[in-house]
Symmetry: D2
Subunit: 482 residues, 4 copies
Amino acid sequence: MSAIWDKLHEECGVFGLYDVGDIEDIIADTYYGLYALQHRGQESCGMAVNDDGVIQLHKDVGLVSEVFSREVLERLPRGKMTVGHCRYATTGTRSASNAQPLVVRHVKGSMALAHNGNLTNAAELRREYEMQGAIFHSTSDTEVIAYTITRHRLQAASIQEAVVGAMAELKGAYSLVIMSPRKLIAARDPMGFRPLCMGRLGESVVFASESCALDAIGAVFVRDIDPGEVVVVSDGGSVESIRTHCAGERRAFCSFEYIYFARPDSVIDGSAVHTARQRAGALLALSHPVQADVVVGVPDSGLDAALGYAQQSGIPYGMGFLKNKYIGRTFIAPNQKQRENDVRIKLNPIAATVKDKRVVLVDDSIVRGTTSLKIVKLLREAGAREVHMRLSAPPFLYPCYFGTDIDSSENLIAYKHSVEEIAQIIGVDSLGFLPVEDLPKLPEGGCGGLCDACFTGNYPVEPPKAGAKSKFENKFSESTGD
Amino acid sequence: MSAIWDKLHEECGVFGLYDVGDIEDIIADTYYGLYALQHRGQESCGMAVNDDGVIQLHKDVGLVSEVFSREVLERLPRGKMTVGHCRYATTGTRSASNAQPLVVRHVKGSMALAHNGNLTNAAELRREYEMQGAIFHSTSDTEVIAYTITRHRLQAASIQEAVVGAMAELKGAYSLVIMSPRKLIAARDPMGFRPLCMGRLGESVVFASESCALDAIGAVFVRDIDPGEVVVVSDGGSVESIRTHCAGERRAFCSFEYIYFARPDSVIDGSAVHTARQRAGALLALSHPVQADVVVGVPDSGLDAALGYAQQSGIPYGMGFLKNKYIGRTFIAPNQKQRENDVRIKLNPIAATVKDKRVVLVDDSIVRGTTSLKIVKLLREAGAREVHMRLSAPPFLYPCYFGTDIDSSENLIAYKHSVEEIAQIIGVDSLGFLPVEDLPKLPEGGCGGLCDACFTGNYPVEPPKAGAKSKFENKFSESTGD
Amino acid sequence: MSAIWDKLHEECGVFGLYDVGDIEDIIADTYYGLYALQHRGQESCGMAVNDDGVIQLHKDVGLVSEVFSREVLERLPRGKMTVGHCRYATTGTRSASNAQPLVVRHVKGSMALAHNGNLTNAAELRREYEMQGAIFHSTSDTEVIAYTITRHRLQAASIQEAVVGAMAELKGAYSLVIMSPRKLIAARDPMGFRPLCMGRLGESVVFASESCALDAIGAVFVRDIDPGEVVVVSDGGSVESIRTHCAGERRAFCSFEYIYFARPDSVIDGSAVHTARQRAGALLALSHPVQADVVVGVPDSGLDAALGYAQQSGIPYGMGFLKNKYIGRTFIAPNQKQRENDVRIKLNPIAATVKDKRVVLVDDSIVRGTTSLKIVKLLREAGAREVHMRLSAPPFLYPCYFGTDIDSSENLIAYKHSVEEIAQIIGVDSLGFLPVEDLPKLPEGGCGGLCDACFTGNYPVEPPKAGAKSKFENKFSESTGD
Amino acid sequence: MSAIWDKLHEECGVFGLYDVGDIEDIIADTYYGLYALQHRGQESCGMAVNDDGVIQLHKDVGLVSEVFSREVLERLPRGKMTVGHCRYATTGTRSASNAQPLVVRHVKGSMALAHNGNLTNAAELRREYEMQGAIFHSTSDTEVIAYTITRHRLQAASIQEAVVGAMAELKGAYSLVIMSPRKLIAARDPMGFRPLCMGRLGESVVFASESCALDAIGAVFVRDIDPGEVVVVSDGGSVESIRTHCAGERRAFCSFEYIYFARPDSVIDGSAVHTARQRAGALLALSHPVQADVVVGVPDSGLDAALGYAQQSGIPYGMGFLKNKYIGRTFIAPNQKQRENDVRIKLNPIAATVKDKRVVLVDDSIVRGTTSLKIVKLLREAGAREVHMRLSAPPFLYPCYFGTDIDSSENLIAYKHSVEEIAQIIGVDSLGFLPVEDLPKLPEGGCGGLCDACFTGNYPVEPPKAGAKSKFENKFSESTGD
């Protein structure tokens, strides 16, 4: 899909389940939980099961439905706890080596970790550990987190004490689910960059990146994990909250979760995602009004905001495109004509909606602009008289160091071009982005503080030094030595 | 998908391409054409290529993207003509034996056929041929059609004369694409039950079940094949129309193509499908009005009509559900809880839209009622105060003999229950079906006559005798002999 | 394997099982029976099961162990009769369309056929049927046989009468297992070109191409089917033998079955294959003696004859090569060096055996000579001082029309070169072929007459006219019409 | 295969290649090298390529031909160095987590390791590192070795210095190939338990477990790596030998490598494996003579010794069995009859050889005795009058701690029964094992000292304490903590 679609990628979804004895099939529930989080990572996925203290792991490259065949699901033991993960990887090669959960053995036993986010001081920590003889199997931050917890575990009285100790050293974004032989632990960084919530399935406890995963298994949403909080589930399902790191730092929840990453049916930090997107559309209608005949959204990510724009502006909402729902690992023929047509395979304009109309086209954002150009062209060919594009995000200008793949300003069209230039490049009659100052209005009650660094460069945590946005996924490079 | 979704199935999509020399990659274009027709049949698919008179065939069980791997696509010769097909099979076993196109060799050479529809006199013809020593490899009507054409070919001066001759014997629904060593032929039964259209890709000629397949490859729509018409493309791309069977019989285009089967972005027999569905919603708003706060559609098939209902009624349109777009060959855990929850894995209500609201829920139709029951339950759990269900089709009461899988009145909830009873069974506050008399209003200009037999029992062609709705897919039964 | 090995191929193995009620798992037994016949055809395989008159079929491209996964084996019904087949196809493309058994439905019910051999009048029969309106799905002789039986079935009182009637029209080689709704039938052509035997598994009846398949399932060998005989198993396992075609024609059992095709542990027409091969080696030692230090065979097909040569000559038998037993669908790197080395991947000389020795190298036959050249080179590199090659078959000079893939004299090194020239081409110090006149001595008692046409051109049945050795496998060509 | 065959398993094969610039395709050569070592490990395999200092890795569960598809082979970069590995794993679950090579990153860069053998102090070293904060991803000794080298690397001037330093701490068996960013290193433990040799492919350098892998790629054998030696290949292919650990300790090469594990065409430590096995047969004929008519070997591992027995005794050598060469991942039907027959699917006696004969049956060893029992039964059924079994190994009595899977005396039939009892259990007329005192005679010149601990309990290195034969493959157990 990535091959024909110019979108940002979230890098992970996490899930955990602690069965107090009332769960019929913990493997099935974990499977469906991951399934509901698939949008947060389509490259690889995995599940670790704690079977009476022994951790079994299955992970591989592929979608949840591919990695977990019927055979695999039947073979996994029906243990008492699970940790699950799905992941987007930025490299092209299919490799399972960075898949999660990460399962390691340390002096006090074994531990499984699932992580969503990005540390800003991973390189420093890694270097420090390497100087003491540590070896690393991957380039993932998760392995750095595992080391940090392990080192604290040597002195700590309990695994949760080790997690709390490690959090004092970890900088950046992390929503974690950790499984020890006898406990299941959820932890969220002090600024709460990435979502993490807790639910109950009967008396059993569930952790998930988004509430939609709770819905998928029929669990009841209990609450979000607070920024800085550590929640520990231990024997019999008793739940302990440790708030050592919940002090008064600012919150910095990723605004792009509301705009694009999260599923519209999730509720995060008190605010429904669908509503936030609809509101973005309504705010766009206020800041960038236009005379038009129909408002259409780019499926699926522009639909909510398009509805909001239509309702606010009074211009009728229409269905502008048919999205081919069988799109998958489609082979794209390597010839010129097909490459130009690639979007058409996924999206076909509904001429009945747009022909001879002035169309407001709503999408969530523009990264490089290549896809927008093609979509606008399709609309014109289908007979649209005017195309007015509205984006429910401000222009991307700065790299993200907290868990998405905006890796360099160089690849961002808005970094190099003015709004007018972009309008001309993608061929629209007018172009409007969500004003940055409208961002705080998206979640209900403002959500206590959003991260808008990719739009403003205003980083809530100091970014890593010197191009530290690692490019070494699945490779190991060597600068020194022999 | 079928395992968790109570829907009718179309049985086929057909495609053909005749390259006059301006097509860059005929295999890629056929692939994308089939891809766009995938909704008409997800069980098996195939492609036959005419490489200088020699026909090569690749077909198998699976989606287009599965059957046609990069390897297969590269291996197939870049011939001058292709015929493609995708198919829904009613049996549970995965078998390639009924996949199409069917390629056969007869006395005058070889021939490939792709067929959408169902004959009503297949059993009689089959028996007649068997009495003369014929053997059959499958139970499909397509093999009967191939025999009929072959028998006419013995005397006919040309393949097209044989096709026209055969059509005098074939009763029922058939939209055919036929490839002989030197010609590509499209034929539609005299009542035009199933869609079939023609386009141009440059000077080359394309046939497809729906116009969306033309769009997918950048071809220009030329016109629908008329009921009873035979269109022959031969050397150099010359196009001949034979109208022997286009006489004054009534038209009987399947009304359920407009309501559910066809893709909303297709235009069939002069009428846009999306518009027909929107109109169905508007007509429902007129015939079954209700006081409510929001109109939501069941994704994806109820969305167009929901928009029409909203626009006509003035009740706001909302997004009621999030459909998991990664749904595929999902393994459904075989325990009771999961079976109850199965719809939830595919659809999750967006509580922000429906909570404390009076909801108009629009879907296309009800078959057995099992899925509707679950969807309504989901809405209630998400806080909907009232649920008023509206269906953009009339109640199904009679089996279809023309190419869909309504096989017996016994399985149709509306055959056994009144509207009030159904409302009670599925748990809605009110229930309204599209009035049968509104059906002709769906397509623009009425489309010259629709088949509404599944709603009315008024069959445009005499149905087969004695429960002839065959159950022998992929099996061979034996009543006599030894 | 074929890619790196210059060998002739047998084209089929057949198997049938009729359960009188004492078989634990008919599917497992058929699977193991086919498994034991795998050497007769590695390209595709299949199994048809008669489940109370309804025939279910599973066949595909691949080895028995690949086509019949655990899932498939579990899914197939435990019926009362089975027919199995494995096949070698001469085309490079992987296609299931010519796989067997062939299952067809005719006027008196359905029928499954498995065939080993080649008809010499298939083209004439095919043409005759086509002129009467028949259509063909494949280019296989099996479909012609099915038609012929079907046509006789129209008038015949029983399926066996139809088979006997059809045999009067079929010319050439055929060992058949046929399953009707209620009967299992074995038939062998009047000259007995290909093997076919009968066994008992308890009271149940088994048919198989070779006795090794009986051994594999623990069945007891009963007897060979006689040339021209039809054996019918019907209700309760009663066995009837019809000897209409067993008249006094000459026998013509394929001599190359003894030399190479059959498994050494099989006993065919009264003679053990291993013994026949050992005897071939002994006869070679008599006709082509040489002073040497060690006799080695080319694994696996030259080992038996090498042992015979060693025993007769008194020269010690040695192990000259290690054959890599993991060889399978190995990817051969497409560069020059690797292509030269390809044999080395499969065979490695054991230097300890051949270094500084005068070596007698025994193999079964030479086709094009390419493999022999490489093997001799390996021996020289391993230090062999002299290499004396002995072949347990006479030189191939003529095409075979009875079921192997010697398709043209052009590809046979012995057709174009003298023995001395061949010796020089492949680089041996001396070369000796089995004298044609020794052929009748291979089987015990001479076996009643062998076919030696590929060595002598003396065809026991008139070969087809005009290069009728078909090249159309899996393709359909067109000479006339449109 | 393991499911139906009662054999010991070697645990690994290693391979390395350093291209000085004259190798056409380093990936193809590594592939064929691994292919030739497949018999040393069939569970998983892998290859690491050094592409200008960046190490890319591909490894997975499966045979070499399965893991390295054409696609994978084409995708891997044509770097300058490779390390390859194939592995047998003792657990039943298919998991890639213990597959090798192991690639890790430490403070001075990255490193790939491939290991054959077993450490006896792995648990102690692991514990020591864990107490200092180390985490482990696997339970393999290889990770312990990687840590040990890494810790030495912190102070060492070079990677080879670190390897030599680490060797002072590692106890037990290890044949290693190590790749650093700029060097390829081979190291063998001071007693030389496992084989390791060096060759030249042109000027390029090859390391491999056995010489057969050199043959497979056309490389020339140079010499064995000496026990305790470290060989370093660096820039331009210069080769350095470090003999720090080559001091006067006793040698202890695994005698079972000669008897069973190694390929007969390999030459190890100066002695041809085939010759060693033939000699074992001859020695058996001297120590356990018998009056008989034919000597047959159990394919493939008993064939060489059978030939030696025949030559020494003068009793004719015969082919007693046909081994089905298509045996692979065969599904064994889970019913009683089939389980009894399982050996028959793989081996079929050749009745012509054994009927009415007094048979000497030669195999390499007896582990549990279950397979021998079945083979003897097959011979009896085929008509053998007497069966005299001879084993080319002494009886197994003690566990092995140096790289094979003899894990407990409890599973060894010879530990619990006398020779006479075993003869009775497996049903032979006489039974003879190779006398332990004959072991040193197998290799030419005695090979400087063999390990015979599994036969004598005389361990050359102190075995680990307290049942340290780990059972934790692929699982992580937890005794303490939470």
